[in-house]
C-alpha cells in the first residue's frame, strides 16, 4: 500500500491508543487481592495441562551440572564428585543427591540445556522470560503469564508468590504491577506487614480507623473518582484479609509438625521456602518461585559449598515430593529446578568452576511429567550438548505446556508489540507470529 490514506491511518492509530488506555484502566483497578475474573477455558494441549500448580526452584549463581544432575565420574572433568545409581539403567545423579536418586522414578532431567549468555543477570532473565534483556521493554515471568492467560486462580489470594530473592527480577514486566508476584522475604515471617505492629492493640487500631474514616469523610464524599474508590476498596479488602483465615496460608509457623518438617526439608531459606511453597499450594496458590543463591562456585567447590548447596536442594526436593504425594497433590503440582547456566567442566586454579552456558541441567517432577528419564545428552566431559538441545524458550514452553497454557496465544504489550509465553518468531508460510519454544514432548507421554 503506497498511497497514504489519512483516514485509514487515523483509524489504526485509534486502535493502538484504545489498547493502551484499556490496559491503563485495568492496571488501575486490578490488584493482587482483587479477583481478576473467572479462569477462561483454555485449550488443554495433548498430554499437558495437568499441573494446576507450579513450584519453581531457581538456583541463582549457576548450578554446576556435573556435580548435581549430570555427573562425569572418572573423567578428567568429573572432579571429586562420584555418581549414584538411580535405579534407571544408564542414569546416575551425583553423590550429593541421594534423596533424588531414591525418588528418580518420579523425576525427569534435562541434560542438554543451553543458552548464549554467560552473565548472571542476562542468563537469569532469559530463563525467567524466554527473551533477551533489552532496554525498551521488560518481559513477564511465568507466574504473571499464567495469570494473564489462564485467569486468576484464587479469589482472594495472589496468583504468584516469590519467596526469597528480595522481590527482584522482571516480575510481571509489561503486564503491569497488578500481576506482580507477591514477595516473601523470610519464609518464617510470611507476608510483610500483615499483623498489627507492636504497641498497637485492637482497641488502638479501632480508634485509629475511626479517626481515619472521620477525617477522610469529606474528601471521599467530594471526590468519588475511580482511583479514590479503588483505594478505599483496597482498604476494605485488606482489612478483611487481615482478619480472615486466608492469610494463614503464609504463616509457616502454623504448619502442623513444624519442627519435624524443618528437619526433613532442611533448616534454611531453601528448605523453609519449599515448606512454605507446599503450604501455599495446599491453599490454592498457582505459581510459587523459591529463589536460592550460593551456586557461583568459582573456588574451592568441594570445600563444603557443593555439599551444602546440593544437600539443601536434595533434602528440600525429596521432602516436597513426599509431602505432595501424601496429600495427593503431586500429580497436579509441577516441580521445576532451573538456573542461569552450568559451570565449566574444567576445574580452575582455585579449585572451582566458572560460568558455562553451553550446556547445563534442569529438573522436572510431578504435574503430569513422566518420571524416570533424562532428556538430551551432554558430551562425555560435560562440555557441550551432544543430543537434543533445549534452550530457555523450550524450557519455558515445557512448563507452560504442563500448566495448560496455549503457547501460541499472543499478548500485546502497551506499546502494541506482540509477545508469547515461550518466545516468538514469524511463521514464514502464514506470516503469523508463533511460538519459538517447543515443549519437551517425551515428558508428557
Amino acid at each position: 500500500m503506497n498511497v497514504f490514506d489519512k483516514n485509514q491511518l487515523n483509524q489504526l492509530d485509534e486502535v493502538s491508543r484504545r489498547t493502551f488506555v484499556g490496559r491503563a484502566a485495568q492496571t488501575a483497578l486490578g490488584v493482587s487481592i482483587l479477583p481478576m475474573g473467572a479462569a477462561s477455558s483454555k485449550v488443554l494441549a495433548a498430554g499437558g495441562g495437568k499441573a494446576e500448580h507450579c513450584i519453581f526452584f531457581y538456583m541463582g549463581g549457576g548450578m554446576t551440572h556435573i556435580d548435581t544432575f549430570d555427573p562425569k565420574p572418572g573423567t578428567e572433568t568429573g572432579g571429586q564428585t562420584k555418581g549414584l545409581a538411580t535405579g534407571v539403567p544408564g542414569i546416575e545423579v551425583s553423590e550429593f543427591m541421594p534423596g533424588i536418586a531414591k525418588r528418580f522414578k518420579d523425576v525427569a532431567l534435562v541434560r542438554s540445556m543451553t543458552q548464549k549468555t554467560g552473565s548472571h543477570g542476562g542468563g537469569s532473565y532469559w530463563m525467567h522470560t524466554s527473551y533477551a534483556p533489552i532496554a525498551t521493554i521488560v518481559h513477564p515471568t511465568m507466574g504473571p503469564w499464567a495469570q494473564k492467560l489462564l485467569g486468576k486462580k484464587h479469589e482472594t489470594l495472589p496468583d504468584s508468590v516469590q519467596i526469597g530473592g528480595g522481590g527482584g527480577g522482571p516480575g510481571a514486566g509489561f503486564l503491569g504491577p497488578a500481576l506482580a508476584p507477591l514477595p516473601i522475604g523470610d519464609p518464617d515471617l510470611g507476608v510483610q506487614n500483615a499483623d498489627l505492629p507492636e504497641g498497637v492493640d485492637e482497641d488502638v487500631f479501632e480508634s485509629r480507623l475511626k479517626g481515619m474514616n472521620l477525617f477522610d469523610s469529606a474528601f471521599r464524599k467530594k471526590f468519588q473518582t475511580d482511583e479514590v474508590g479503588a483505594y478505599s476498596q483496597f482498604y476494605d479488602e485488606t482489612l478483611r484479609l487481615m482478619t480472615s483465615s486466608d492469610l494463614e496460608a503464609f504463616k509457616l509457623k502454623l504448619e502442623p509438625n513444624y519442627d519435624e518438617k524443618v528437619k526433613r526439608y532442611g533448616d534454611g531459606k531453601l528448605g523453609k521456602g519449599a515448606m512454605l511453597a507446599k503450604r501455599l499450594v495446599s491453599a490454592g496458590i498457582r505459581f510459587i518461585e523459591v529463589k536460592s543463591g550460593g551456586w557461583d562456585m568459582h573456588q574451592n567447590l568441594w570445600g563444603g559449598s557443593i555439599q551444602t548447596r546440593a544437600g539443601a536442594l536434595d533434602k528440600a526436593l525429596s521432602a516436597l515430593i513426599d509431602d505432595l504425594k501424601a496429600d495427593g497433590l503431586f500429580e497436579k503440582t509441577l516441580i521445576v529446578v532451573g538456573t542461569e547456566f552450568g559451570r565449566t567442566p574444567k576445574i580452575n586454579a582455585n579449585g572451582g568452576r566458572d560460568h558455562h552456558p553451553r550446556v547445563f541441567s534442569t529438573f522436572f517432577a510431578g504435574g503430569g511429567i513422566q518420571g524416570g528419564q533424562a532428556y538430551g545428552k551432554s558430551d562425555r566431559l560435560g562440555m557441550a550438548v551432544e543430543e537434543d538441545p533445549v534452550d530457555p524458550r523450550d524450557f519455558n514452553a515445557t512448563i507452560a505446556h504442563a500448566m495448560g497454557i496455549d503457547l501460541n496465544q499472543v499478548v500485546y504489550a502497551p506499546s502494541g508489540r506482540p509477545f508469547l509465553v515461550a518466545g516468538h518468531k514469524r511463521d514464514r508460510e502464514t506470516d503469523r507470529i508463533i511460538t519459538e519454544g517447543k515443549p519437551i514432548m517425551p515428558f508428557f507421554s
Binding site: E14, V31, M212, Q224
Partner: protein
C-alpha cells in the same frame, strides 16, 4: 459558528486591552499576505503567539486582529506593547481553555439535541451516549477556584515535590499579600526542592539508576545525577540539555551528560527508540523489526535514523594519556599491541593486586575484585570512532534495501538534514532533534510538562504523539500556544511552569469526576481543573520526610567532585598494601550523604530509628524491591516512565502496619511529634498543628474533637512523667497515623 461566538464572548468578558503609548496615531497596517488597512492602534489584547491588536478604523469601529497575521514591520511596531509577564501569558492560556470548554459545551448540547434523530445508534446506544454527553457537559463547567489551603498543598507537591512543613504552611496562610500565590510560585521555583522534584521526573523518564548500564557496571552515577539537578536548578534550556546529552564525549566523571548514552551502552538501536519516545513523544520501536503498522515510519527509516548514531560508541577508548596509570610497567613486553590497543589500566590492577597478595590480602583470586571493578568503569568512554556500525538487519525483507546494506543517515520527518554541514553525524542529529522547527520536540516537552501539572497531557498517551496533530490534540490552539510559549521562553522549564502555575486553570479545584476513557481517548477532556492525582511514590515519601524534619532538603547526596578526583588519581603512587586498602575504602565511601557544602553527617542525622528519612532523590536509585518507595510505584528504572500509581494490598498493609507509619512518624525523634508533644505550644492548638502539617488544612469541629480525644486516649495521669511523655507521643502518633492513612493525604486535590 458556535466556537467563534463563544470565543468572542470570552474575549469580551475576560480580557481588557492593555493601554499603550503607541495609541492614537493613524497609520497603515499590512497583513502577512499583503493586504493593507488604515487604522489607529488602540492596544494589545492577550499575549504570546495568540495576542491580538485592537485597531480603530476611520469610521470609529474597532476590530481585533491577530498579531501573528501582521506583516513583519507591524509585528515589530507592536512588539513593545505586548505584555510578556507570567500573569498576561497565563490569562491567555485561561482564555484558550475557557473557549474550548465553551465550544465543547455547545457541541455536546447540539449532539444531545440531535441524538433522537441519529440513524447510526440503536436505542440502547443512544441511552448510553446520552448519559455520556450529560456527564461530559458537566465537565465543561470550570471548577471553582481553589482555597489558599488547597492551592498551597498542591503547588508544594508540584514544584517542591512534597507537602509544606508546618512552618511553611502557616507562613503562607498567614500572609496578607494580595499576590501571595504568585510569590509562592516564584519562591518555590528557586528552591533546591524544585531541583529534587525535577530530578525525580528525569530519573523516571531517563532511567537513571546506580551502575547505569544494563549489564550492571560499578560506575558511580553521581555526576549524571548532579548534572540533571543542576540543569533544573539553573534552568538550563531544555534544547541545550538534550543536545549536550546526545553529543557528549568522554567519561561520565568528566562529562556527566555522557550518562545518557552510557545508559543504553551496547543497545544503540534501543537508544534510538528511547530517544524518540522521551524527546519526541514518538514510538518507533516497532520499526526496528518491520514497517510501523500505524504511523508513517518504515523499517528503513529506523535504520537511516540509527545511522546518525552509528559511528558513536559508549565503549570507546580515550585518546592516549587521558589516564595517569596506563603505562606498561614492563616496557616492551606488549609493545606490539600497545600501538593498536591501549591497556585499559589492567596492568595497574595487576601491580596493586600483587602488592595485596604479598601482604596476604588477596585471597584465592588472581586480581583484586574491587580494583578490577574500578578499572572496569573506564570501559565506558563516549566518543566517535569514525566507523559506521549500523546496517540493515540480516533478515531485511522489503524491496527498498538489501540485508546488511549500509545507509546514508536521513530523517523521515521535519527539516531534511545535510550531514556534511556538521562536525559529526550526531551533531546533525542533535540539532535536527532540538530545532524549533522540529514538529515534535517542543510539542513533546510542553505536553509532558502539562501532564505534570494537570494529570493528563493534551495528547494521551504522551509517548505516542500522532504525526498528524491537528484534530488529535485535546485543544490544538492551546497546544500551539504552549509550543510558542516554550520557544519564546527559550526552552526554560522554570519560566514555562511559572506561567502555567499562575493560570486560573491550574488554580481551580481538582475535577471530582473521573474523565471517561472515551474522553481521554478522543481528547474531549478540556481541563475544567486539574485531574485528581495520586501522589507519585517520591511525592509520598518526601512528604513523609517533611513530617519528620523541618529541613527536608538539608541532607544531600554529593559525590561527583570526589568521584572525578578519585578517577584522576595517579595510582602509581600507591606502593603499600595499606595505601591500596585505603584507596579501596575511599571508593566505597564515594557518593555518601552530606549536610550542605560537603559536611559529613553526624550520627543520627537523617535517621529515625532504623529508617533513613531523606528525600528520595538523594537515596539509592532505584530502592530495593521491598522498600516503601518501590511498593508505592517507584520505577525500577529499567523502562521509560516505569513508575506507577496503582494501588495494591501490600501498600495498604504497609500504611496500616508498617514501620514508617507506626514507628517513624510516631517517634519522639521526629520533628512533628516532638514539636506537638513537647514543643512550647506557642503556635496554637496541637490538633490544628497536626492537621496543618499532614493535610495542609485546619480541622472541622468534629475532627478536632475526635483528634483531641485520640491525643489523650493513651495518657495515664498517674504514671511517671517519663512514661507520660511516651504515652503522649504515642497519642500524637495515632492522630498522624489516621491522617496519613486518609485518601485525602495520598491524593493531590
Amino acid at each position: 459558528m458556535d466556537r467563534y461566538r463563544s470565543l468572542l464572548f470570552v474575549v469580551c468578558s475576560l480580557v481588557v486591552a492593555t493601554t499603550s503609548s503607541l495609541r492614537a496615531e493613524m497609520r497603515e497596517w499590512t497583513s502577512s499576505d499583503g493586504r493593507k488597512l488604515q487604522a489607529e492602534f488602540v492596544g494589545a489584547v492577550g499575549a504570546g503567539s495568540t495576542a491580538r491588536v485592537k485597531l480603530r478604523l476611520a469610521n470609529g469601529n474597532e476590530i481585533l486582529y491577530p498579531v501573528a497575521k501582521l506583516g513583519e514591520a507591524d509585528r515589530v511596531f507592536v512588539k513593545s506593547s505586548l505584555p510578556t509577564d507570567p500573569a498576561a501569558l497565563a490569562a491567555e492560556i485561561d482564555r484558550l481553555v475557557m473557549a474550548k470548554l465553551k465550544s465543547s459545551y455547545y457541541e455536546l448540547k447540539q449532539e444531545l439535541a440531535e441524538l433522537p434523530e441519529n440513524k447510526y445508534l440503536d436505542h440502547a446506544q443512544k441511552l448510553k451516549r446520552k448519559e455520556e454527553i450529560e456527564r461530559e457537559m458537566v465537565m465543561c463547567a470550570p471548577n471553582p477556584l481553589t482555597t489558599d489551603e488547597q492551592f498551597m498543598r498542591r503547588i508544594y507537591l508540584d514544584i517542591a515535590g512534597r507537602i509544606p512543613t508546618y512552618d511553611e504552611a502557616s507562613r503562607f496562610l498567614a500572609s496578607r499579600q494580595r499576590d501571595k500565590r504568585a510569590r509562592l510560585i516564584d519562591e518555590l521555583l528557586d528552591t533546591e526542592a524544585f531541583a529534587m522534584r525535577m530530578f525525580n521526573y528525569y530519573s523516571d523518564l531517563l532511567r537513571v539508576r546506580e551502575g547505569l548500564t544494563m549489564g550492571g557496571s560499578d560506575m558511580k552515577v553521581d555526576p549524571y545525577i548532579e548534572w540533571l539537578k543542576q540543569c533544573a536548578r539553573d534552568d538550563k534550556p531544555f534544547d541545550r540539555m538534550v543536545s549536550e546529552m546526545l553529543t557528549a564525549e568522554g567519561y561520565i566523571w568528566d562529562n556527566p551528560a555522557a550518562g545518557y548514552l552510557i545508559t543504553d551502552s551496547g543497545m544503540e538501536l534501543c537508544n534510538l527508540s528511547n530517544t524518540f519516545t522521551v524527546f519526541l513523544g514518538t514510538e518507533i520501536t516497532c520499526a526496528q523489526c518491520h514497517d510501523h503498522p500505524f504511523e508513517q515510519v518504515k523499517q528503513i527509516d529506523f535504520y537511516r535514523m540509527a545511522t546518525f548514531m552509528g559511528t558513536t560508541s559508549s565503549r570507546g577508548k580515550p585518546p592516549v594519556m587521558m589516564m595517569a596509570s596506563t603505562d606498561e610497567p614492563e616496557g616492551g613486553k606488549k609493545s606490539k599491541r600497545k600501538g593498536k590497543k591501549k591497556d585499559s589500566g589492567k596492568s595497574e590492577v595487576k601491580r596493586m593486586s600483587e602488592i595485596l597478595d604479598a601482604a596476604g590480602m588477596l585471597g584465592n583470586r588472581d586480581t583484586d575484585r574491587t580494583l578490577g571493578d574500578i578499572n572496569g568503569t573506564r570501559n565506558y568512554y563516549v566518543n566517535d570512532r569514525g566507523k559506521q556500525t549500523v546496517s540493515l538487519p540480516h533478515d531485511y525483507k522489503y524491496d527498498n534495501g538489501e540485508p546488511h546494506q549500509q545507509l546514508r543517515p536521513a530523517v523521515y520527518f521535519g527539516d531534511p538534514v545535510n550531514v556534511e554541514r556538521h562536525a559529526s553525524p550526531r551533531e546533525a542529529y542533535a540539532q535536527w532533534m532540538t530545532a524549533k522547527t522540529n514538529p515534535r520536540f517542543t510539542i513533546n516537552l510542553v505536553n509532558r510538562l502539562w501532564k505534570m501539572a494537570f494529570g493528563y497531557g493534551q495528547i494521551e498517551p504522551v509517548d505516542n504523539i500522532p504525526g498528524h496533530l491537528d484534530g488529535q490534540a485535546q485543544n490544538y490552539e492551546l497546544l500551539k500556544f504552549l509550543e510558542s510559549l516554550m520557544q519564546d521562553k527559550n526552552f526554560q522549564i522554570k519560566e514555562f511552569f511559572r506561567v502555567v502555575y499562575n493560570t486560573q486553570t491550574y488554580q481551580r479545584e481538582a475535577e471530582t469526576l473521573t474523565p471517561s476513557l472515551t474522553q481521554v481517548d478522543n481528547g474531549t477532556y478540556h481541563f475544567p481543573g486539574p485531574i485528581l492525582r495520586r501522589m507519585t511514590a517520591e511525592q509520598l515519601w518526601d512528604s513523609l520526610v517533611a513530617l519528620t524534619t523541618d529541613r527536608p532538603e538539608e541532607i544531600r547526596r554529593e559525590g561527583a567532585a570526589d568521584y572525578q578526583e578519585f578517577m584522576h588519581f595517579d595510582t602509581s603512587e600507591l606502593t603499600t598494601a595499606k595505601q591500596i586498602v585505603a584507596y579501596k575504602e575511599r571508593w566505597r565511601s564515594l557518593g555518601s550523604l552530606t549536610k550542605g557544602e560537603g559536611m559529613k553527617l553526624e550520627k543520627g542525622d537523617g535517621r529515625i530509628g532504623k529508617a533513613t528519612m531523606v528525600r528520595a532523590s538523594e537515596m539509592s536509585l532505584p530502592q530495593k524491591p521491598g522498600h516503601f518507595l518501590r511498593m508505592f510505584g517507584q520505577s525500577d528504572k529499567n523502562l521509560i516512565e516505569g513508575q506507577y500509581d496503582a494501588g495494591s494490598s501490600p501498600q495498604v498493609m504497609a500504611l496500616l502496619n508498617g514501620s514508617i507509619t507506626n514507628q517513624v512518624l510516631s517517634s519522639p525523634d521526629g520533628y512533628l511529634v516532638n514539636e506537638v508533644a513537647f514543643g512550647e505550644d506557642r503556635k496554637g492548638d496541637k490538633v490544628d498543628k497536626i492537621f496543618l502539617s499532614v493535610l495542609g488544612r485546619t480541622p472541622s469541629a468534629a475532627e478536632s474533637q475526635m483528634a483531641a480525644s485520640m491525643l489523650n486516649a493513651r495518657l495515664d495521669r498517674d504514671a511517671k512523667e517519663k512514661v507520660q511523655r511516651t504515652q503522649l507521643a504515642a497519642g500524637v502518633g495515632d492522630v498522624i497515623w489516621a491522617l496519613v492513612n486518609t485518601r485525602e493525604f495520598m491524593f493531590i486535590q
